[in-house]
């Protein structure tokens, strides 16, 4: 009986998950979810997150939030809605993630479970990830190297496309969008989806351009208009799925994008002639077999990144191709209601071809990973033991981990996580010319975190969670230099802090829903030991790690209207290791509006965002000014047949 109930619950959850995209279409925003901690429903298509990370702190971006930010980048979304520091070099310019005081190279980004950071840099530019292409966005805090691989020290961003939604009859959806914004920003896109019993196909294309010529205050307190800040891009995502039979599905995805970005002058520069072209193709083929007790899968991917950076002022013309081949086979078996086991074998081959230097460097990773889940004490306890043996070129190491959650009551859950952290130097750190250091050692350490979640559902909903973490990393890699920058294993860094997320939601007369949310982080990441003679960084906060960071949301949904005011706070960031030079804290206010109009059996969606409502003059990265108040207005018409 229990088994039947369990299977029914699982199927219900899966159906709910698959149907979600379709359900959004006709939804009139009766329920507004600002952000929900991982619940029993599947938040991801990846079992590593759904099942084998019960004690991990995960933030899931709700579908309504994704709709609000549909025409923006993941960088903007995270900066305004998630307590993670996004190091942005300016509007539409490079943006990287900083989790819990970890460096950008210690924070990983996965697309449908495939690592997509640049193979040479070890860094993903989240300003090049459009929200529109993704159906699920999860942020995993803390190390989870056993499940996600070495390099995942501070946390991970997981972006996913929904699994194919096959339909009994032929189902066709067509949508077109037009967006206009401040500073000459225009964007047009189309999306088509066709599905039937055994076949599903979607295509999503858009192009955009922006001048980004906003006003800012320069170093002499004069108002200037930004120059050399234009953007042009074209993006396309094709997905095709074939249901071989009730148990077997094959999915193919191709994601191509090209961005041309001018790089504006910093405050200390009079002019900039810098520009960068980023061209990426990501191909993925995925086979899944779903059984009663055993699911198996094989996924393969090829990723090619081309970065062409030019600065005619200083005679730099750098062109690099990086290539990645990723393959993973896995088996997920449920022995009974108490025991589950996942075994998988990731293989990740990377190489960089430097056109300018005419050479090639490679980095090959092979791993065998397993995760065992025990569920007991009336399903209140979920305990996951994870392990991974990984070989990177001629380096072999083990990555163990343990995490668990316990439901104290139906409204209180405790969780804890212990993981080994490990990061092998990137190709860039080893071989960059000039300055690469082939003698670098891996960064290594341990990560521990624990917390609780309160979830009370009455006529009102209260969600509150608090996490505390502790991490020490030895042989921390730091780039040092003036004319020549060289990475060295310099220091040991101790990171510890708190994160809290809070949401309150109240339904008024079943028509109006009011929501209030506050997220905040406290991050203390200090150098505790160093090889550098007379190092002044001991006991000091590491660069670009705000001590405090937080966001607040307050809003209302009424019938087909959704309105939200978002306020962010980012604390002082030091740019030197000894706290001798800092950038002031800043706050921004942002307003989001969304409205749906039924047009026959179709739908017109109107969205409007006002970013930096209070026209704050601020910089996220030193000397790179951010724009003042700016608007983005979008129309999306969806046609159903």
């Amino acid at each position: 009986m229990k088994k039947i109930v369990g299977i029914t619950a699982l199927l219900t959850a899966m159906l709910f998950s698959f149907a979600n995209a379709g359900a959004q279409v006709a939804d009139t925003l009766k329920e507004v979810k600002v952000k929900a901690r991982r619940a029993k429903v599947k938040v991801s298509n990846d079992e590593r997150l759904n099942t084998y990370s019960p004690g991990q702190t995960v933030v899931t971006i709700d579908s309504t939030i994704l709709e609000q930010y549909k025409f923006q980048t993941i960088a903007n979304l995270l900066a305004q809605q998630v307590p993670v520091f996004v190091k942005s070099y300016g509007l539409n310019n490079v943006a990287t993630l900083n989790f819990r005081g970890a460096s950008a190279a210690q924070s990983q980004v996965y697309w449908n479970g495939i690592p997509i950071q640049n193979a040479a840099l070890g860094v993903a530019d989240v300003s090049l990830l459009p929200v529109e292409l993704m159906n699920k966005v999860n942020v995993v805090y803390g190390s989870s190297s056993a499940l996600w691989g070495s390099g995942n020290v501070g946390g991970a961003l997981l972006i996913e496309n929904d699994v194919p939604a096959f339909s009994d009859s032929v189902h066709f959806t067509q949508s077109a969008s037009a967006v206009a914004g401040s500073f000459g920003h225009y964007r047009f896109g189309i999306k088509s989806a066709l599905s039937e019993e055994r076949f599903a196909f979607t295509v999503n294309l858009f192009g955009q351009s922006a001048r980004n010529n906003f006003h800012y205050t320069d170093a002499n307190d004069s108002s200037r208009r930004m120059t050399n800040a234009g953007l042009q891009s074209g993006v396309g995502l094709l997905q095709a799925a074939y249901k071989v039979n009730d148990r077997n599905t094959v999915t193919a995805r191709a994601w191509y994008q090209q961005y041309y970005r001018e790089i504006p002058p910093a405050l200390f520069e009079t002019v900039s002639l810098k520009n960068q072209r980023d061209e990426t193709i990501r191909l993925m083929l995925d086979w899944k077999r779903t059984g009663v007790k055993t699911n198996t899968y094989i996924k393969t991917a090829y990723i090619r990144d081309y970065v062409w950076y030019r600065d005619t002022t200083v005679l730099v013309d750098s062109r690099n191709f990086t290539n990645q081949v990723y393959a993973e086979a896995g088996i997920d078996h449920r022995f009974n209601e108490h025991h589950k086991l996942l075994v998988f074998t990731p293989v990740h081959l990377s190489w960089i071809d430097r056109v300018t230097q005419g050479d090639r460097y490679t980095q090959n990773r092979y791993a065998l990973a397993a995760s065992y889940l025990f569920t007991g004490i009336n399903e209140k306890l979920n305990l996951s033991v994870n392990g991974r043996g990984e070989v990177v070129n001629d380096l072999a190491f083990l990555l163990p981990g343990l995490n668990a959650s316990y439901d104290v009551s139906n409204w209180l859950q405790l969780r804890a996580n212990v993981q080994r952290s490990y990061r092998v130097p990137t190709l860039n750190e080893l071989y960059y010319s000039p300055g690469g250091n082939p003698n670098l050692k891996p960064e290594k350490g341990w990560n521990e975190d624990a917390g609780y979640t309160v979830n009370i559902r009455r006529r009102w909903i209260l969600q509150h969670s608090l996490s505390a973490y502790n991490r020490v990393i030895d042989d921390w890699i730091l780039w040092l230099g003036g004319a020549i920058w060289t990475p060295h294993n310099i220091a040991s860094v101790h990171s510890r802090g708190l994160e809290t997320e809070n949401k309150l939601q109240y339904k008024l007369k079943d028509v109006i829903t009011i929501h209030l949310g506050i997220n905040a982080t406290y991050t203390m990441a200090t150098t505790i030991a160093s090889y550098l003679p007379g190092d002044g960084s001991i006991g000091k906060q590491i660069p670009y790690t705000p001590l405090y960071n937080g966001q607040g949301n307050i809003g209302v949904s009424w019938k087909r209207l959704y309105a939200n005011y978002n306020h962010t706070y980012t604390g002082l960031r030091y740019i030197t290791t000894d706290e001798s030079f800092g950038i002031p804290s800043y706050t921004t206010g942002n307003l989001q509006l969304m409205y749906y109009i039924p047009v026959g059996g179709n739908r017109l969606q109107l969205t409007a965002q006002c970013n930096n409502l209070w026209n704050t003059q601020y910089q996220v990265v030193n000397a790179r000014p951010m724009p003042g108040i700016n608007w983005l207005v979008g129309l999306l018409f969806t046609f159903y047949k």
Partner: protein
């Protein structure tokens, strides 16, 4: 209003206040240096100062000017910022006094800032692409070398105007030296193994002398009038060399070849002109040729061991010889990720004092 709504708002307000309270604990020291220091007084007549150009961390615009009064040893931090209320810019390369003004070359900000030598008050800006060094010719003329171009700019230090340029047959004019009516120009160009000579009257290149290595950096003159030229760009496999040229003919009198990967920068001559100092830089710990080296101009070999050795993970970036005392000033940039340190040694390498300065101390100017 519904009581529950009131409660939501009440708790919301409390939560906002808590967040605000938490934010207030943040150490907001404002933009720029956390401890800016104080403006220096007007320099009394007869007192000497050493100015330290802290170039800052490339791409961060946090260059600074430090100053130490050599009579009282009082240190003044962030002199330009404290006097003028503005930052210097990015990559503060060098300082030169011409008459009553100090000229500050700010390389990556494409400008030369001009300040009064006594008060350090801002007097003007000369916009020049990637300025490196200034060579005073006379009160109405100075040459400015410039990275990434093949131009030496001619400026008028009184009017702060650009008068003209000298086209050098190679890129990256770097160090310059005035000898009589001739200026020796070192183009730090890996395709160049020549030092070019410009006439200060016609402002034209009139001659060139071949040296023993590629990418000439700096030229100095010794006690006997011989011209010492340091060359090399180790990252581009142009190994470092010292060439001694005859002052009249420009013939190579002697040359010294450093070993492969031994990187040498910023040579300096002592007051008597008989001792040459330079920095051996080992960024990656590959060669061990790391520290301040000294050689007599009559030595037949290069020094193998440093007078002042650098430690592991340390390298020096600034070197200055006090023209009055021969004290050796050494700038330790500490990786350009934190405040640097200046250490002062006797000419024999005995440490006299040390003090913290801005980021990337790279150039010393002794103002008489």
């Amino acid at each position: 209003m519904d009581r529950a709504v009131q409660q939501i708002l009440r708790y919301g307000v409390v939560a906002c206040l808590l967040l605000t309270a938490a934010c207030n604990k943040d150490r907001n020291t404002g933009a720029g240096p956390s401890n800016p220091g104080q403006a220096p007084p007007v320099t009394p007549v007869g007192e000497r100062n050493v100015y330290i150009a802290c170039e800052g961390s490339f791409g961060n615009g946090n260059a600074s000017l430090y100053m130490q009064n050599l009579a009282t040893l009082t240190l003044y931090e962030n002199v330009y910022l404290n006097v003028n209320g503005k930052s210097i810019g990015d990559v503060f390369q060098s300082i030169q006094r011409i008459d009553d003004r100090l000229f500050l070359c700010v390389n990556n900000s494409d400008k030369i800032l001009v300040v009064d030598a006594k008060t350090r008050n801002y007097e003007g800006t000369i916009s020049i692409p990637k300025p490196r060094y200034i060579l005073p010719i006379h009160s109405d003329k100075a040459y400015v070398s410039s990275l990434y171009s093949n131009k030496v700019y001619i400026i008028n230090p009184r009017t702060l105007q650009i008068l003209n340029t000298i086209e050098v047959p190679a890129k990256n004019p770097e160090g310059m030296m005035l000898r009589g009516s001739r200026v020796y120009i070192c183009p730090w160009d890996t395709a160049c193994n020549k030092v070019y000579v410009a006439d200060i009257v016609t402002d034209h290149i009139t001659d060139s002398f071949t040296v023993a290595g590629y990418a000439p950096q700096h030229a100095l003159v010794d006690k006997d009038g011989f011209i010492w030229v340091l060359s090399g760009n180790v990252e581009k496999k142009k190994w470092a060399a010292l060439t001694v040229l005859s002052p009249g003919t420009g013939d190579i009198v002697q040359s010294y070849q450093f070993k492969e990967l031994q990187d040498v920068i910023k040579p300096s001559m002592n007051k008597a002109g008989d001792m040459l100092y330079f920095i051996g830089v080992d960024y990656k710990g590959l060669t061990g040729y790391n520290g301040i080296f000294r050689m007599n101009v009559n030595d037949s070999k290069l020094p193998a061991t440093p007078l002042i050795p650098a430690q592991k993970f340390q390298y020096f970036w600034g070197l200055g010889i006090d023209p009055l005392t021969d004290d050796v000033y050494v700038g330790d940039p500490k990786g350009f990720m934190q405040k640097g340190v200046v250490s002062v040694y006797t000419s024999n390498g005995e440490q006299k004092r040390t003090f913290a300065v801005g980021i990337g101390p790279g150039y010393f100017y002794f103002d008489e």
